[in-house]
């Protein structure tokens, strides 16, 4: 079990506004991930974290930033939302990182008008 909650679960915002999505875990796993899911593209990695204050870019990181000040929280920020960032965002965690099981949260549906 991921022990992950994501907030908000749904959000509608306007182009150009900043948006922050929150991922909270109860498991204290070291590794955390943000993915986006779009029809025809599957899930694509945005950013990941391998510890407090340790983060790195994934495949589709442009326009996104992340922060991890506590083990349990991993924040995804869209500095200036665009319509192309309309998507479903999933947070995941893993106790052992690469090559091991990742557990996913319930997702956040974001619509940018």
């Amino acid at each position: 079990d991921a022990g992950i909650t994501q907030s908000p679960r749904h959000k509608v915002t306007e182009t150009g506004t900043p948006v922050t999505l929150r991922c909270h875990q109860t498991e204290n796993h070291r590794y955390m991930y943000w993915y986006r899911q779009d029809p025809g593209h599957g899930l694509r990695l945005i950013h990941y974290s391998y510890g407090v204050k340790d983060t790195d870019k994934g495949e589709v990181s442009d326009g996104y930033s992340v922060s991890r000040s506590k083990t349990e929280d991993f924040l995804l920020t869209l500095e200036s939302a665009t319509s192309s960032q309309t998507s479903v965002y999933f947070c995941a965690n893993s106790p052992h990182g690469q090559g091991h099981t990742q557990y996913f949260g319930p997702g956040t549906r974001l619509t940018v008008l």
């Binding site: 991921a2 992950i4 590794y31 991930y33 993915y35 025809g40 593209h41 599957g42 899930l43 694509r44 990695l45 990941y48 974290s49 391998y50 790195d56 994934g58 495949e59 999933f90 995941a92 893993s94 990182g97 690469q98 090559g99 091991h100 099981t101 990742q102 557990y103 996913f104 949260g105 319930p106 997702g107």
Partner: protein, 114 residues
């Protein structure tokens, strides 16, 4: 970004049939291959995973077949049920070298008809 190619995009099977979903990968350094099942409105959930030191793994009605030389792996669902209707994703990653996330296929929308 190394790709994982998944087919078919959608699949309809009668109850009791054996749907087969195929994936092919390019990066020979991949050595962990999980399958995820996703129901509408939910996050993906790990179904079964395989490492390349075995050619087949079974868990209940779900079987992964792995062909290392062809760089292909597939998911078979035995005695499929309407409750198996979901989107299935294959994925791949490397066991060593860091904390990178999984590389996913684009998904297969499976419908099991009663």
């Amino acid at each position: 970004q190394q790709q994982v190619k998944q087919s078919p995009q959608s699949l309809i099977v009668q109850k009791g049939g054996i749907p087969i979903i195929n994936c092919a990968y390019e990066n020979t350094a991949f050595d962990y291959f999980p399958w995820y099942q996703q129901f509408p409105g939910k996050g993906p959930a790990l179904l079964i995973a395989i490492r390349p030191d075995v050619s087949e793994k079974k868990e209940g009605r779900f079987t992964i077949s792995f062909n290392k030389s062809a760089k292909q792996f597939s998911l078979h669902i035995m005695d499929s049920q309407p409750g198996d209707s979901a989107t299935y994703f294959c994925a791949a990653s490397m066991m060593e070298g860091g904390a990178d996330g999984l590389t996913f296929g684009k998904g297969t929308h499976l419908i099991i008809q009663p």
